[in-house]
């Protein structure tokens, strides 16, 4: 009666494949390197880029998208931020 695996599939996003590839890579990196003290190099960078690009295109939920975009803003040194940072000129 609980053969609902088909129902579960319907929630799978178009990014499922790149997501699984990233999670596999991350899990391996975390258990073999990071948790053992080798944290000098971030793992799974290309997998992450592909996955993130896909989420950017496909993730529709506004509440969740905020978290995707948060990361971009904290990583940008460029002036791509369209946010209303009014006091910009006072920093110089």
């Amino acid at each position: 009666m609980t053969r609902k695996s088909a129902g579960k599939k319907s929630y799978t996003s178009p990014c499922a494949d790149v997501r699984d590839a990233y999670h596999d890579c991350f899990n391996r990196w975390y258990s073999e390197k990071f948790s053992k003290g080798q944290w000098d190099k971030e793992g799974c960078v290309s997998e992450w880029e592909k996955y993130r690009a896909c989420l950017f295109q496909n993730l529709e939920d506004k509440n969740l998208r905020r978290y995707l975009e948060d990361e971009t803003s904290s990583h940008t040194d460029t002036n791509t931020a369209n946010k209303s940072v009014d006091g910009e000129d006072t920093t110089k």
């Binding site: 948790s35 944290w39 969740l64 978290y67 990361e71």
Partner: protein, 192 residues
């Protein structure tokens, strides 16, 4: 009204293995039946601080709510359960060997607020081989006038379900620890 409770557990596995298993809890194929309320998991952001080694990961976890009481079902247009998005933030400090996981729902906050904080650290009695786990959960139903009368019921049902699920979650983590242990013994014997 708020329901809050704390749970503790000791894993007889080292910290690195337990935290590896904790990360895999929702994505491991073996979890799909016991954690069947989890519909989807995505990583939304990650960052590694190059000077401290702290790793911060944000994931979305989409879950099925427990089946709703009749009155609420009517208020929500006949749906018997809801899909709720939660956001999980994990911070791992590989130097101090700590992992802190906080989960809260981002959807339906007008109805219910669930906050869960978990902590994994080496057990003080045997830090190399045991891991202490502590989890604090707070559930609060918003007293929306229309559903105030049944809010208490939803809350207790959610609390029950949460307790069941965190029990299942620990079982999944134990199982994954088991196979990670088997894997590491195998690879060690392959090397020697």
């Amino acid at each position: 009204m708020v329901r809050a409770y704390t749970q503790e557990h000791v894993y007889h596995h080292p910290w690195d293995r337990v935290t590896s298993a904790a990360f895999r809890k929702f994505t491991d194929p073996s979890a799909s039946t016991s954690l069947s309320h989890v519909l989807d998991v995505h990583t939304l952001s990650r960052s590694l601080n190059p000077s401290t080694g702290r790793l911060r990961t944000v994931r979305s976890i989409t879950v099925h709510s427990p089946s709703l009481p009749f009155l609420l079902r009517r208020a929500l247009g006949g749906r018997d359960s809801l899909t709720i998005n939660c956001v999980e933030t994990t911070v791992v400090d590989p130097v101090g060997r700590s992992m802190e996981v906080s989960v809260s729902n981002v959807g339906l906050r007008g109805l219910i607020e669930v906050e869960e904080r978990s902590f994994y650290g080496p057990h003080p009695d045997d830090p190399g081989r045991r891991t202490a786990f502590r989890q604090e959960t707070r559930i609060r139903c918003k007293p929306l006038s229309a559903i105030a009368a049944i809010a208490g019921k939803v809350e207790s049902r959610c609390a029950e379900r949460f307790l069941q699920n965190s029990q299942k979650g620990r079982e999944v983590v134990e199982r994954i620890c088991g196979y990670l242990e088997a894997e590491s013994t195998r690879s060690k014997s392959a090397i020697s």
